[in-house]
């Protein structure tokens, strides 16, 4: 008898797009609120943005059950860190933890496409972008998820940072003001919603600054 193959997949893509942009003293993290499966919409009101620490906010799209499990792991590791070090994790520290956590399941991956945004030790915005198995890079801006191919080229056009290969190393942070960056985010999501069926319903924007976090919720096309 030939080996039986499972007729179910342990993975599913619940869709959605995440974007983050780093500024001189702020970080904008945004994601749509649609959760889908196949050609159906499960929820029009599902948040993909999760605050991990005061200065580190994670936005993930992909397989939602894996995203939730990943969040739980990071949250509990952060709690242990706080107990052991008597302080919150910094964004670069959380970035490394996320990478290690993802690679830990290299041979049965978390199907999660992550963008980590926050403020570094000097209060400047930082954005880290990941693939599903933990390879990551500090960048000035990033888009992940179903609409990323539509958004990333436009962000490259508007925000192109100096090459990371240059010496001396140059900052990847955008010179845009916070209001301009938020406006740019709204524009890219409106465009992605037009052409990506998995992006739409509402846009959740989180703006991280030294004094706290502000959240905005904007309507997107529902079709």
């Amino acid at each position: 008898m030939t080996k039986q193959h499972a007729n179910w997949s342990p993975y599913d893509n619940n869709g959605g797009t995440c974007v983050a942009i780093a500024g001189s003293d702020y970080c904008v993290i945004a994601a749509d609120t649609r959760m889908s499966t196949g050609y159906s919409i499960l929820s029009r009101d599902y948040s993909k943005i999760h605050k991990l620490a005061d200065k580190a906010v994670l936005s993930s799209s992909g397989f939602q059950a894996d995203v939730k499990a990943l969040q739980k792991v990071l949250k509990s590791r952060h709690l242990i860190y706080q107990h052991q070090h008597n302080k919150q994790m910094s964004c670069p520290a959380m970035a490394q933890l996320l990478s290690n956590t993802l690679y830990f399941k290299r041979f049965f991956p978390y199907y999660a496409f992550n963008v980590l945004g926050g403020l570094d030790a000097e209060g400047k915005g930082c954005v880290f972008t990941y693939d599903a198995v933990g390879s990551y890079e500090k960048v000035g801006y990033s888009a992940q998820g179903s609409g990323s191919t539509l958004i990333m080229p436009f962000l490259d056009n508007q925000l192109k940072s100096p090459s990371p290969l240059l010496l001396p190393a140059q900052d990847s942070i955008t010179p845009l003001s916070e209001a301009e960056a938020v406006d740019l985010v709204k524009t890219v999501f409106a465009s992605a919603t037009e052409r990506d069926i998995y992006t739409g319903d509402k846009l959740e924007i989180m703006i991280l600054k030294a004094d706290g976090i502000k959240t905005e919720l904007i309507d997107l096309r529902k079709d």
């Binding site: 080996k3 039986q4 193959h5 499972a6 007729n7 179910w8 997949s9 342990p10 993975y11 599913d12 619940n14 959760m35 499966t37 159906s40 919409i41 499960l42 929820s43 009101d45 599902y46 397989f63 939602q64 059950a65 939730k68 499990a69 041979f107 049965f108």
Partner: protein
Amino acid sequence: MTFTIPIDNGDAVKNAEADSQRTLYPYVTGTSIVAIKYKDGVLMASDMGGSYGSTLRYKNIERIKAIGKHSLLGASGEISDFQEILRYLDELILNDNMWDDGNSLGPKEVHNYLTRVMYNRRNKFNPLWNTLVLGGVKKGKSYLGMVSMIGVSFEDNHVATGFGNHLARPILRDEWHADLSFEDGVKLLEKCMRVLLYRDRSAINKFQIAKITEEGVTISQPYSLTTFWEFQAFHNPTAGAQGSW
């Protein structure tokens, strides 16, 4: 998409035995569950059928059960796995009661527990083949959520599994609003169940509607919906087709 189960092939005999323990496909299945939040709590509806492939084998299966004091669980998919889940929850609620500290697990906690159970079984490549609907009220706050067999979960004002997701959800998106009265809520659910009865071949005309409020759980006696089959277009359907029989 086929997915080969990655296991160490060192011990073929032992693995073959372990493999035969894993779920490959469901046998006796229940069809859709539809549920909505309303003014006083949550309303949930299901039919009472258990299909064995294309045979309607069982016609008296209760697919909605009360869990503890604050929750209702509805399940579609494999019935034996639903019964297994009820056993897990029985133990959970029992242990919760044994603390005897005046606290009891609310619907949000039970939903989280179920999500973890479903996800962990998926991780071991031996899923519980169900889509679960968890509704309840605790301290005046209504809660309604869903978990799939691979652990995808979310909460919303209205949920539906299986065919209900395709046929009932659009009706609910159009006609659901906050603070529905009990009568309006039941009418809305019956509208959804009637559509499912017409269009889902595994649905049967024997329903239960369950209600959960701060006061407690009520699951109705089984009843049927009226249907209409006299549309003119369906009288003499072959009238226009030449040479058909």
